[in-house]
């Protein structure tokens, strides 16, 4: 089970994504406002963020930039109605893990969410192992 933050100003999309993820036994918190979501992510901490790309007040790319600037490395999956190469590249450059083109089904959402969580888990594990090796080599005279 992971703690997932879903950010989308569209009620039906936000709630259907949350419903899909809840059925996969994840604990989901929803936000219709990316500014509120940003504050909450910094405060609470989540394992994954699923966010719309185009939203009022702050778009998805800006949300990722703000997160990374604050040192938060939580993986972000973008949802977009315009899956052009340029928007995808922009989101990835900003630090998003991957993107989903609307409309998508539960299988596509679930597979990508699991992959992002697994990638994050492996990254952390890798980092911890690297640190252990460094500590060990530092202790050896």
């Amino acid at each position: 089970m992971a703690r997932i933050c879903v950010v989308d100003d569209s009620d039906i999309l936000r709630e259907s994504v949350a419903e899909s993820l809840t059925r996969e036994d994840h604990r989901v918190t929803m936000f219709d406002d990316p500014v509120e979501a940003l504050a909450s992510v910094k405060r609470v901490g989540f394992d994954l963020i699923v966010s719309d790309l185009k939203m009022p007040r702050m778009d998805g790319v800006q949300l990722v930039r703000e997160l990374r600037a604050s040192g938060c490395e939580t993986p972000v999956i973008m949802m977009t109605a315009f899956a052009t190469v340029s928007t995808a590249v922009e989101a990835m450059k900003a630090g998003a893990y991957d993107y989903l083109q609307k409309p998508f089904d539960t299988a596509a959402l679930t597979v990508l969410v699991e992959r992002a969580l697994e990638h994050d888990r492996l990254s952390r594990e890798n980092e911890a192992l690297r640190k252990s090796v460094e500590d060990f080599t530092n202790r050896v005279p």
Binding site: S10, L13, S16, V17, K54, M79, A81, K102, F104, D105
Partner: protein, 285 residues
Amino acid sequence: MAIIKSKESDLIAVIEAYNDVTERLKRSHEVLGREVHRLRDALHEKNRELARHERLAALGQMAAGLAHEIRNPLGGIGLYSSLLENDLADRPKQQRIARSIGEGVSNLDKLVTDILAFARGAEPDRQLHRLAQALDSVSVQAAPQLRAKGAVLDIDSDLYEAEVYADVAQLERALMNLVFNAVDAVNQDGRIWIRRGDEAGDSSLVSIVVEDDGPGIPREFLHRVFDPFYTTKHTGTGLGLAIVHRIIESNGGSITARTREHGGASFHVVLPTSCEVAQRCGLEE
């Protein structure tokens, strides 16, 4: 007597000269009349083209916003329908209904994708290519539809070596749309050809003709086939040929629809074969 004869011959000469001038004026008048008629037709055609461009520009502005507004609820409906489909695994009848909703979502999404492709009119990345790549891709992608219809696609081997100065991905899409359009049009076991046309005239242009042996397009509808949402089919979005027209024009070419002499429709595409030709047409900076 001699003086009278001289005056008579002068008069005859004057009359002949007058007749000659009159005849020349008449011929000149006829030529001018034909020219005025031709120019009026050309102006009429340009006005129709201009009106079409204005309609396209308006649609372009609307499409991007519309796509976003439609895809948000569509995304929700799609997700809920796939959840329902999973929930109804033990109730096949109800599960089929949920699947139909999902299929409806896919069809609407295809319409949005087509509108976006049409409205974006993405700036083409023109380069010099051999046509082989686009033609190979078309024959591979069209194979399932051709098999389903028992139709045959013949591609003129001469075209593979031809070069074209265009965005190869856009050209592929345009040719695909023309072939899909032909597959829809032909009867079972129909035939479709992609061949070199003779409109190009010189080596600075290449002409590609996509034609079929289907029922053809009634002459009175030929000028409307590239209009968005105009369709004579029961399926499809009515944007396939409009997208083709948009792509060919943005790549500096032209396309015309015709009815074949022995039945069937033919689409004649003419594209530049070099950057210099595109520059002459004012398409490149």
